[in-house]
Symmetry: C2
Subunit: 229 residues, 2 copies
């Protein structure tokens, strides 16, 4: 992660969230100048952002001079989710082969922290105290775990593909996850057991098992998320 975020990066994220939230409607046409004025920057970084969004499939070039927000059907989102599952399996397979001892220890450390947080959340919930703050910390830890697994794969291109497959669903997924965890005590716990199992498979260098666990975990997570919506 670059410490200094360029204007192009900001424009990329802002336009992406604008599309995700529906602020920019599907089919609406997007111009460099218009976006530049809206974001109060020059067209140069906007062009770069639009190029990246185009590669992500979030905007489409209908003609050489007309760019518009891609019409993302729900079916396409489901398709990308399926791609994500497959990629996660691949990542796990690579991680089983390439993870270093330090990285594996870091994974366990993250899960330890997550366990502590989970216990804390349950405690506070029993006492009727607010848990929002700790729940977000828990989600952050899960995110951190995912990133750490990705790092274990030692395959930047693959990790980038995984990120790309999540571009569509990420914004609303975190929100769903937060609500789901807040409702259901056992939701997070179930997932952690599979996380532990994944780390064990990684330690054993068992790429087939790691792939299987990662795929099942991803599928299960997506299914549970879909139920909750």
């Amino acid at each position: 992660m670059p410490v200094t975020e360029t204007l192009a990066d900001q424009a990329y994220r802002q336009i992406r969230t604008a599309i995700a939230t529906g602020e920019l409607a599907s089919g609406e046409k997007v111009t460099e100048r218009g976006m530049a004025e809206r974001l109060a920057i020059s067209p140069t970084p906007v062009r770069e952002a639009l190029r990246r969004l185009e590669l992500d499939g979030l905007i489409e070039r209908i003609g050489p001079r007309t760019v518009l927000v891609a019409a993302i059907r729900d079916a396409a989102i489901d398709d990308l989710a399926e791609v994500e599952v497959g990629l996660r399996g691949l990542v796990a397979r690579f991680a089983a082969r390439h993870a270093s001892a330090d990285q594996l220890d870091a994974l366990d450390e993250i899960l330890d922290r997550a366990d502590d947080l989970l216990i804390l959340v349950k405690e506070r919930r029993r006492q009727g105290q607010p848990t929002d703050r700790h729940l977000t910390a828990l989600l952050d830890a899960m995110q951190e775990f995912n990133d750490a697994v990705n790092a274990c794969a030692h395959n930047p291109v693959l990790v980038r593909m995984l990120e790309q497959s999540r571009v569509f669903s990420r914004p609303r997924r975190r929100e769903l996850l937060l609500r789901r965890v807040a409702q259901d005590d056992t939701f997070g716990l179930e997932r952690y057991t599979s996380h532990r199992a994944l780390v064990r498979a990684l330690r054993a260098g068992d790429s087939a098992a790691a792939e299987r666990i990662a795929i099942e975990d991803s599928q299960g997570g997506l299914a549970a998320l879909r139920e909750g919506s």
Copy 2:
């Protein structure tokens, strides 16, 4: 495919092939200005090209102001090949679900043409006539088949990922394939039988079978290619 290729596109392709051919050595540092002067264009399109190459993993940012050609170890190329196999399986899975009748007919039509070409090549070879021209036509047909299958998947993002996984190996792969086919009569034939089987699975809408066939075919093709090198 844009009818008019922008300077940025040209710069992207030129730099990419320069890296592939070793003209730009691994670890060599790349600057916008230097590349711009070398290609006789302004730095603006070069910047865009470097951004895309960075996303492809062909160049690396070592610092905020230092960009150099990524050191691609053979292991990394093998890793990407493995990713490619997985992605091909995913593409086949999607194609089985989303392919239209017209697209399926087009697939068979391409294979028919390829069969004719293969017969022609064998004929000419028996008579001691040169086959280069027809062999390249055969490879073009195989490429066309691949593209057509990708189109069947109706998942542009996934197809882009597949393309990305091939960035490293594509230049030398075609050359290897050409040599291999020229040597071995049965090489192409074996692959076509699996291609026919793939189309059958796609017609049946059997996504599991399609995925399996595509994976086995990719693995087999890569293995055979590796032998030949």
